[in-house]
C-alpha cells in the first residue's frame, strides 16, 4: 500500500521539482479531459501547448500576456511572503488602467505624446493601483479588516467604477454610444520592442520588476524584515520590525505593480479604455505567484506557463470548438496539482505499511 511518511527535514529538491511535476500532472489531466469530450487528445494537446510557441509570432504573443502576469505576480510574491493576502490585484489593475487612461484622455490632442507623457501616464497607473491597495492597507491597519475579503470586494467596486466611467464621463463622443473611450493616439502608446509584433515595453518593465524584486528580497534589509514578518511574526516583534510598515509596504508595492500592469494593457494591446480590460490577470497571477514559489525570478517561468494556458485556451476555442472555460479549467488544475505536489516537500511516499 502506498502511504505518506513525514520527512525529517523539508526537501529542497522537491520544493523545486513540485512546480514541474504540477505542470506535468496538469497536462495528463488535460489529456484525459480532451479524450472525455471526444477530441483526439494528442492533437488537442498540440494545439494547446505547442501551437502557441512554434514561431516568433507565437512567442511575442506569449510575451504580451506574460507582461501583466509577471508585473502583478512579482508584487504578489512580496505580499504573500509578508503574509499579506492581497487577492484583489485585479481591482488594482483596473484602477491603474483607469488612472492612466484618464490622464491620457485629458492630455491627448492627437499631436503630442512621447517619452515624458508616456512616463507620466504609467506613473498615474502605478498611483492608481497603489491608491486602491492603500484602501485595503488602511482598513486592515485601522480596523483590522480582513485583507482577503476587502481586497476581493474592491475588485468589483473597481470594475463597476470602470464600467460607469466608460458608459458616461469617459465615453467616446464619436463612438456611436459604444461603452468605450476614444482610441489613444500613437504618441501615448507604449513602444513595441520587437518590430512587427505586439510585444511592448511592458515586458521590459516586468523583467526589471522581477530582477528588482529578487534583489529586494534576497539582499535588502527591508526585504529581510518583510520575510521575517511573514515567516515568524513573533520574531519580527522581538527584533523590532514594524508589522504595520510591512503591511503597508507590501500592499503599496503590489498595488503599484498591478497598476502599472493595467496602464501597460490600455497603452499597449488595447489602446483605449473598454469595460473589460483584463481576462482575469489579477487572479491568474495569484496562481502564478505560488507556482513560481513566491520567488520574483521563479514567477518568470510560471508566467510563461500561465500565458500558454491563455493562448492555448483561445486557440482551442477556435480550432477545437472548446468552450472558453477551458483556460479557467487548466488554471484550476494547475493550482490544484501544485498544492497536491507540495505535500511531497514535507512528506515522502513509501510502499508497505
Amino acid at each position: 500500500m502506498l502511504r505518506l511518511e513525514p520527512r525529517a527535514a523539508p526537501s529542497t529538491l522537491m520544493a523545486w521539482l513540485s512546480p514541474l511535476l504540477a505542470v506535468a500532472v496538469t497536462m495528463v489531466c488535460g489529456l484525459i479531459l480532451f479524450t472525455a469530450v471526444g477530441k483526439d487528445p494528442i492533437a488537442s494537446l498540440k494545439v494547446f501547448f505547442y501551437e502557441p510557441i512554434k514561431d516568433v509570432h507565437g512567442w511575442s504573443e506569449m510575451g504580451v500576456k506574460v507582461a501583466p502576469l509577471l508585473l502583478i505576480s512579482v508584487g504578489l510574491a512580496l505580499c504573500f511572503r509578508a503574509n499579506v493576502f492581497n487577492i484583489g490585484a485585479e481591482g488594482q489593475l483596473v484602477v491603474g488602467a483607469l488612472a492612466a487612461g484618464a490622464v491620457i484622455l485629458a492630455l491627448d490632442d492627437d499631436t503630442n505624446g512621447g517619452a515624458a507623457l508616456i512616463t507620466l501616464a504609467v506613473l498615474a497607473g502605478a498611483a492608481g493601483g497603489l491608491a486602491w491597495a492603500a484602501i485595503v492597507a488602511w482598513l486592515k491597519d485601522r480596523y483590522n479588516a480582513n485583507e482577503i475579503l476587502v481586497s476581493l470586494m474592491l475588485v468589483y467596486v473597481a470594475e463597476l467604477l470602470l464600467s460607469w466611467l466608460v458608459h458616461g464621463p469617459l465615453i467616446d463622443p464619436d463612438g456611436f454610444g459604444f461603452p468605450q473611450s476614444r482610441l489613444f493616439s500613437d504618441g501615448f502608446l507604449l513602444p513595441v520592442v520587437l518590430p512587427g509584433t505586439r510585444l511592448h515595453l511592458g515586458m521590459v518593465l516586468a523583467l526589471v520588476a522581477s530582477v528588482g524584486g529578487w534583489i529586494f528580497l534576497a539582499r535588502s534589509f527591508a526585504g529581510f524584515r518583510l520575510r521575517v514578518g511573514g515567516m515568524a511574526p513573533l520574531a519580527a516583534r522581538y527584533a523590532g520590525f514594524s508589522s504595520r510598515r510591512a503591511l503597508w509596504g507590501a500592499l503599496l508595492v503590489s498595488g503599484a505593480l498591478a497598476g502599472v500592469a493595467g496602464a501597460a494593457e490600455v497603452m499597449g494591446p488595447i489602446g483605449q479604455l473598454t469595460p473589460s480590460i483584463s481576462p482575469g490577470y489579477g487572479f491568474a497571477a495569484i496562481i502564478v505567484a505560488f507556482v513560481g514559489r513566491l520567488h520574483p525570478v521563479g514567477v518568470i517561468f510560471s508566467s510563461f506557463v500561465m500565458a500558454l494556458f491563455y493562448i492555448g485556451g483561445e486557440l482551442s476555442q477556435t480550432r477545437l470548438g472548446m468552450p472558453s472555460a477551458i483556460t479557467g479549467i487548466f488554471q484550476g488544475l494547475l493550482l490544484f496539482a501544485l498544492l497536491a505536489c507540495d505535500v511531497l516537500i514535507h512528506n515522502r511516499l513509501r510502499w508497505g505499511n
Binding site: 511518511e5 527535514a9 534589509f221 527591508a222 529581510f224 521575517v228 516583534r237 527584533a239 523590532g240
Partner: protein, 518 residues
C-alpha cells in the same frame, strides 16, 4: 487500588523496545520493569527517549519492535483508550483542558457520553477527599492555578482506577509547597498498590520520592539503581556521562542602576493575559537579579514592557540609566545596549526556516552587517561562525537552519548572539528550559561571565536551583505583583516558595531583605 491478578508478577515489563523516527532512534532496545506499588523513576536529559517510551506504554505510539507484558500477559496497546481499559493512566506535561469549561465538564469529556455531571461531581469530590487534592468540580478551569490544573489531570486519571499512573515532568510548573503535596498523594497511591512511573530530570525529587530509577541516555538504558542510595552527582553521571561543573559563588559589588521600574501597572491586553498590578525593581551593573515565579504570573507581560514591544505605559515608569524609556521602541533600546533572550527560541528568538547566519540579523543591525540598506551576507556568516565556535554550538555551519538545531544548541546560539553585542543590560527568560544539563551549565556560565564583565542581567526563571546558583539578589513575581528583593545568601527555598504564592511582607523585612525600591 486493586492489586494485579497475579501478585508476584511485575505490573509492567518492557523488553527490547525499539522506536525509530525519520532522523533518530528514539528508543534503542529499552527494557524496563515496574513492580506493583512501586514508584519508579525514569531519568534522562531532554531527547533521551523518556517521553517516547511513555507514549508507547500509553498507546499513543506503536513500537517498531519489542515486547510488553502487563501483569504477566503479552499485550499490544493500540491506543490510549485501550491503555485506560487495562488500567494505565497518564498525566501529561502539557495539560489538555478547556479554559471555558468547569472541572467536571472537562473530566466528563474523556468519559462515555451518558455520564451524569452531578454523579460525576460526587465521584470527583470523593476522589479528591481520599487523596487530599482539594478541587471544586464546579469551578471554571481558567480560574485555576497551574497546580490546580494539574490536579484536574490527576483526578481525571485516578477516576479510571489505574494500576499504573504515568506522570511526565509533573513538577516543572509547581511551587515547592505544591510539589510536597503532590508527593504525599503519590506516596499514598503507591501504598494502595498503584504503580507509578515518574518521568523527570530533577535529581533531588527522584531521590526523595522514588523506589527505583531507570536512567536513559540517547535512547538506551544506562543504568537501574535505587535512587535513595545514590547521590545527585552519581545519578547525574549516569544521565549525562559526566558531572556538571559547579559555579563559584560571587560577592556582589553593586554598580550603577542600569534599569529601574517604578510602579508598573498595566491592564491585560487579552482575556487570558495577566494584569500587572505593582512591579518595581532596580537592576544594577555587575549583578544578576533573579526573578522567581511560576509561569503565567505576569512574566510575559513584564517582558513585553521591558523589551519595548508593549509601550502602553508612561515613559518614566521605565528608566534606563535614569533616562525615561517607556515610550522607546525595541530597536532604540537595543541600539543603546539592551538585549533580550526570549523564552521561545523557535519562532521568537530565531526564525526556524532561516539560516543561523540570517538569524544574526534579527538583533545585529550595524555598519558591520548592513550597508546602505543592503545586507552584508559575508559579515553575517563570519559572525555566525564566531558565535558557533566561541559558544560551543553543535551545528554544521552558519548556513544550517535554526530549526535543524537541538533546543540546547539553539539556545546557546541565541545567548551567544546577544553576548556578542556586548549588552549593558541583558534580560533572559527561562534560559535553560528544556535544555540538557551540559548545555544548561554552559549557558549559566556565560551569564556569570557577562555579569563579571559588568553587564546587568535580569534572569527570569522557574528553576529555583538555577536562580539560587547564579543570582545575586532575588525577587518573586506572583499574580502580576513583585516582591521586595532579597540577597540570595539570605533567602531559602521555603521562603521563596512561600513568596511564589503571593505571600510576602509588604514593607521592610528584617533579616537581610533589601527593599526593591531602596
Amino acid at each position: 487500588m486493586t492489586p494485579g491478578p497475579i501478585a508476584n508478577e511485575p505490573r509492567l515489563v518492557l523488553s527490547d523496545i525499539v522506536k525509530h523516527y525519520p532522523a533518530v532512534k528514539a528508543n534503542d532496545g529499552v527494557s524496563l520493569s515496574v513492580e506493583a506499588g512501586e514508584i519508579h523513576a525514569v531519568l534522562g536529559e531532554n531527547g533521551a527517549g523518556k517521553s517516547t517510551l511513555m507514549k508507547i506504554i500509553y498507546g499513543v505510539l506503536r513500537p517498531d519492535s519489542g515486547r510488553m507484558l502487563w501483569n504477566g500477559q503479552d499485550v499490544a496497546i493500540a491506543n490510549p483508550a485501550q491503555a485506560r481499559a487495562l488500567g494505565i493512566g497518564m498525566v501529561f506535561q502539557h495539560f489538555s483542558l478547556f479554559d471555558t469549561l468547569t472541572v467536571a465538564e472537562n473530566i466528563a469529556l474523556g468519559l462515555p457520553p451518558d455520564t451524569r455531571l452531578d454523579a460525576l461531581g460526587q465521584r470527583i469530590v470523593a476522589t479528591t477527599r481520599q487523596y487530599g487534592l482539594e478541587l471544586d468540580p464546579d469551578r471554571h478551569v481558567h480560574t485555576l492555578s497551574v497546580g490546580e490544573c494539574q490536579r484536574v489531570e490527576i483526578v481525571r486519571a485516578l477516576l479510571g482506577k489505574p494500576q499504573l499512573l504515568i506522570l511526565d515532568e509533573p513538577t516543572s510548573v509547581l511551587t515547592p509547597q505544591a510539589v510536597e503535596r503532590l508527593f504525599v498523594t503519590l506516596r499514598q497511591l503507591a501504598a494502595e498498590g498503584c504503580s507509578i512511573l515518574y518521568i523527570s530530570h530533577k535529581l533531588d525529587e527522584i531521590r526523595a520520592l522514588c523506589h527505583r530509577c531507570t536512567v536513559m541516555r540517547a535512547g538506551r538504558v544506562t543504568g537501574v539503581c535505587d535512587p535513595r542510595e545514590e547521590t545527585a552527582a552519581s545519578l547525574s553521571r549516569m544521565m549525562i556521562g559526566s558531572e556538571p561543573p559547579r559555579l563559584s559563588q560571587h560577592a556582589a559589588e553593586p554598580g550603577e542602576v542600569m534599569l529601574s521600574v517604578r510602579r508598573l501597572q498595566l491592564p491585560r491586553a487579552h482575556p487570558f493575559a495577566t494584569e500587572l498590578q505593582d512591579i518595581s525593581f532596580d537592576l544594577r551593573a555587575g549583578e544578576i537579579l533573579g526573578v522567581a515565579g511560576i509561569s503565567g504570573n505576569g512574566q510575559q507581560e513584564m517582558l513585553a514592557v521591558l523589551s519595548g514591544e508593549d509601550r502602553r505605559i508612561a515613559p518614566d515608569v521605565l528608566a534606563y540609566k535614569a533616562y525615561p524609556i517607556g515610550h522607546r521602541p525595541v530597536a532604540w533600546r537595543r541600539a543603546r545596549g539592551m538585549g533580550l533572550v526570549p523564552e521561545e527560541r523557535l519562532g521568537r528568538g530565531a526564525v526556524p526556516e532561516l539560516s543561523l547566519a540570517d538569524n544574526v540579523l534579527l538583533t545585529h543591525q550595524s555598519a558591520r552587517t548592513l550597508r546602505r540598506g543592503f545586507i552584508r551576507h559575508g559579515a553575517l556568516r563570519t559572525l555566525a561562525s564566531e558565535i558557533i565556535g566561541r559558544f560551543g554550538v553543535k551545528a554544521p555551519g552558519p548556513q544550517a537552519t535554526a530549526m535543524s538545531l537541538s533546543g540546547g544548541n539553539l539556545q546557546k546560539y541565541i545567548i551567544g548572539r546577544e553576548v556578542m553585542r556586548h549588552p549593558r543590560v541583558l534580560i533572559v527568560a527561562q534560559p535553560t528550559w528544556g535544555v540538557d544539563v551540559g548545555a544548561a551549565a554552559r549557558i549559566r556560565a556565560e551569564l556569570v561571565a557577562l555579569r563579571e564583565a559588568g553587564c546587568a542581567v535580569l534572569l527570569i526563571s522557574e528553576e529555583l536551583d538555577e536562580l539560587f546558583e547564579i543570582s545575586d539578589r532575588l525577587v518573586v513575581i506572583a499574580k502580576g505583583r513583585m516582591s521586595p528583593a532579597i540577597e540570595t545568601a539570605h533567602a531559602s527555598t521555603e521562603l521563596i516558595g512561600q513568596w511564589m504564592s503571593g505571600l510576602w511582607p509588604e514593607t521592610g523585612v528584617s533579616g537581610g531583605v533589601v527593599h526593591a525600591s531602596a
